[in-house]
Every structure is written in C-alpha cells, then in structure tokens.
Amino acid sequence: MSVELAHYLTVGAMIFGAGIAIALSKRNAIAVLMGVELMLNGVNLTFLAFSRFGGAFDSAEAPLAGHVFVVFVLTVAAAEAAVALAMAVLIYRRRETVDLDRINLMRW
C-alpha cells in the first residue's frame, strides 16, 4: 500500500468537482467566488502531484516548473479575488444585492 500519483489526481478532481458545483449553483456572488478558488486549489494539487511524481526534482532542464506554475496561479488568484470582491461590493452599493439571479442588467 503506497500513495501514488492517481490518488493525488483523484483528490484534486474531487476538490475541482466540488468547486464546479458551488460556482454553478450558488446565488450569492461571493459564494460563487469561493467555488472558483476551490477549483484553482484542485488544479494546484494536480500540478504539484505531477511535479513530484514526474521527477521534476531531478530535471536539469527546468527544475520545479510545476511549482513555479503554482506560484503564478496563487498570484493570479489573489488579484482575481481582490477585483471580484471589489466588484461585488460595488454592485451591492448600486443595487443592494449580490444575488446573481437578480443581477440581470445585461440579459438579452
């Protein structure tokens, strides 16, 4: 019994799937953002699992490329969270709601 690559990929996929379900089915914009963050987190786990099991520690060409990618994902996620939450606060100030079912100004 040992922990293998497929185990980590499965856990990453389950976290990503939970994120999809949250992002698609929540009414509150902040809850949708939580789902997106969970999806990014599952992807990060997948990156690091491939980096560890794929021998990235031994690679002379591009060592720890998966880790560097995760650093950039963290950066972009932080920027995205800051802007998205600012937008949620702004929409609330204009319309007194962050309910995505009622933010339908751009509906065709």
Partner: protein, 171 residues
C-alpha cells in the same frame, strides 16, 4: 512502499480537504462556508507538504488560508442586506451533476491511465529537496518575463480594486 505515517497523513488530509469542500456547498451560513473553505485550504497545504512542496505549502497558508478568506469575510460583512443564507439558484441540479460527473470521470481516468514510471513511483525513497531556493532561481532566471508581467498584473488589480470601491467625490 511508503511509511505508515505518510499514508495516514494522505488519507486524513484528503478526507478533510474534500469533506470541507463539500461542506462549503452544504453550509447554510456564508460565514460558516468561508470557515470551511479555510479548513479545506489548510488541509490542501498539508497535502502539498506530503508532496515535498514546502514553499508552496507556506504560500498556500499565507495567501489562500490567510488573505483571501479575510477579503471574503469583509465582502460578506459589507453586504449586510444581501442575506447570509448561501442559497442555491435554479442551476443546482445541473451544477451538482456536472461537478460530480467531472470528479468521477477524472478519477476513473486517473486510476486507469498508464502513467509509466511516474505512476509507479512512491513518495518514499525520493530524497527531500528544499524548494524555495530553486523556485527563486527559476523565477529570476528562466521565468523572469512572466514574473515581471505578474507584478504588473498585481499592481493593476490593486489600483483597479481601489478605483472600483472608492466613494464618488462630491466635486
């Protein structure tokens, strides 16, 4: 063949990470959902440690489990009339079906796929390397352009967030 400690750690941390991710979906209160989200992120940081990613685990705790939930709690507190009930929209059935189908299909593919040497490798037996210095070298060498672009992105996000939430000046 891994040691018992790492196997127990993997299964325990995985159960916490996935369980609290599902808990974010089930929680009836938005603040509780944010707290479960923090728990999921901390458990994932533990999984990163089992993958020898020490620097990423520390960054995960600082950014994902520290900074982003603070922003989210602020946003929840700043929208008091919007309700804290974490309710579902009409898309709850397709959303859950899609998320569940994605998790099941990727899990089946990951377990069935032939990963070659990577799939057979175990965590034990590989030497632990400290990663912070190697990541720093890579960021300042091979990936320096992406690093600089990321810094511009962070600056743009900072200014954009300030401009968005600033009160309109009277004059």
């Amino acid at each position: 063949m891994d040691s018992a400690g790492i196997i127990v750690a993997f299964w325990l941390l995985s159960a916490i990470a996935v369980g609290s991710a599902v808990g974010v979906f089930l929680a009836r209160n938005l603040i509780h959902a944010v707290m479960l989200l923090v728990l999921s992120f901390v458990a994932t940081a533990g999984l990163f440690v089992t993958l020898s990613a020490d620097f990423i685990a520390a960054a995960q705790v600082l950014i994902y489990a520290g900074a982003i939930p603070v922003l989210m709690v602020f946003a929840v507190m700043l929208t008091p009339l919007a309700g804290r009930d974490n309710g579902n929209s009409l898309y709850v059935v397709p959303g859950v079906l899609l998320g569940g189908a994605f998790a099941v299909i990727v899990a089946i593919v990951a377990i069935d796929a032939e990963w070659g040497a990577a799939g057979a490798a175990a965590l034990a037996g590989q030497s632990f390397a400290t990663t912070a210095d190697a990541i720093g070298d890579a960021l300042m060498g091979r990936y320096v352009l992406a690093f600089e672009v990321a810094s511009v992105l962070l600056l743009a996000a900072l200014i954009g967030a300030i401009v968005l939430v600033r009160e309109d000046e009277p004059a």
